[in-house]
Subunit: 183 residues, 2 copies
């Protein structure tokens, strides 16, 4: 608890940061931000939507880094826009509930909602619910929302928006995904 | 050494990845990539050009993560395009020499050359030298080059190029940089 108190004063004015776009490096960037924050003594919570795999970044966090709490709300398979099932909706809604809880419970300095923009775009959760989440966050909390297709309304209320654009991708040259690079 | 051997086979076809653009999230993304790579057992080396501070991400890596080696070749102050001094050039050239060494010595699966694109754009080191570095890398090594102003020739020979664009930045709203967010 002593630790919590000392870190609770870090974020004087919490930021809403959105990382969107079609390029590689959005979740990656969020995890770099986690590393930086942990280095400065933050307590961090990560909620992943539509993801259920043990990615390399999660393995590293769980194995080596303190001060991080993880929740995944997704299956091991990819959700596509046109083939989402009831289970995808149910999981995303559970993720949203967990997000509300960890944003409000005072335990964290930074909360990452990974791929939440896609969950909204795929209609798994409502845009309005996410906007409410952001508007009602404690002032000192840093909140990061990642994923393609960030909505205009979210961009409007964010403090920082970075768009990652694909200029070139090795997939297009036939090079497949690989541990350590994509996951 | 047993560790090295087991990881040396990870990267079947090493990639040249460039992270450029004017938005927040380039170095951050490279450090997320480091986290992912370390989670998958990679040996990683980071060389930072034009940077000399103990950023949060470095504190976290040094304190918690194994398999990472760091070198910084910069002062604690920022180099501007028009005010670079001989010491900036000397440090960047030393960074380039170290980069050659760690790319060729077979100890690492992934090498990050952080801000090297800026060092080239500011004429601290030559574009040709960096292109040679990339072209002569061992085939299995993953190489990541970050920083604004990536040159066209570098983009041409890269496998992946992501451009991070600033859509919105809290600096423009008068919010200053802060530990855990910018450093």
């Amino acid at each position: 608890m002593a630790d919590m108190k000392s870190t609770a004063s870090i974020a004087k004015r919490g930021l809403v940061m959105v990382i969107t776009g079609n390029g590689k490096g959005k979740t990656t960037s969020a995890f770099g931000q986690i590393l930086r924050a942990v280095g400065q003594g933050y307590q961090v919570c990560v909620i992943q939507f539509m993801k259920g795999r043990k990615y390399g970044e999660i393995i590293a966090c769980e194995k080596y880094l303190p001060h991080i709490t993880f929740y995944q709300f997704g299956l091991d398979s990819f959700v596509m826009r046109e083939n989402s099932a009831q289970v995808d909706i149910d999981l995303a809604c559970q993720g949203l509930e967990k997000a509300k809880e960890v944003i409000q419970n005072g335990k964290y300095n930074m909360v990452i909602l990974d791929e939440i923009n896609v969950a909204v775009d795929f209609d798994l959760i409502s845009e309005e619910a996410v906007l409410d989440l952001v508007k009602n966050k404690p002032p000192e909390l840093d909140l990061i929302l990642t994923g393609r297709y960030a909505s205009k309304k979210l961009i409007d209320i964010a403090d920082l928006v970075s768009e990652v654009t694909e200029i070139k991708h090795h997939y297009n040259a036939g090079i497949k995904d690989r541990p350590g690079i994509e996951y």
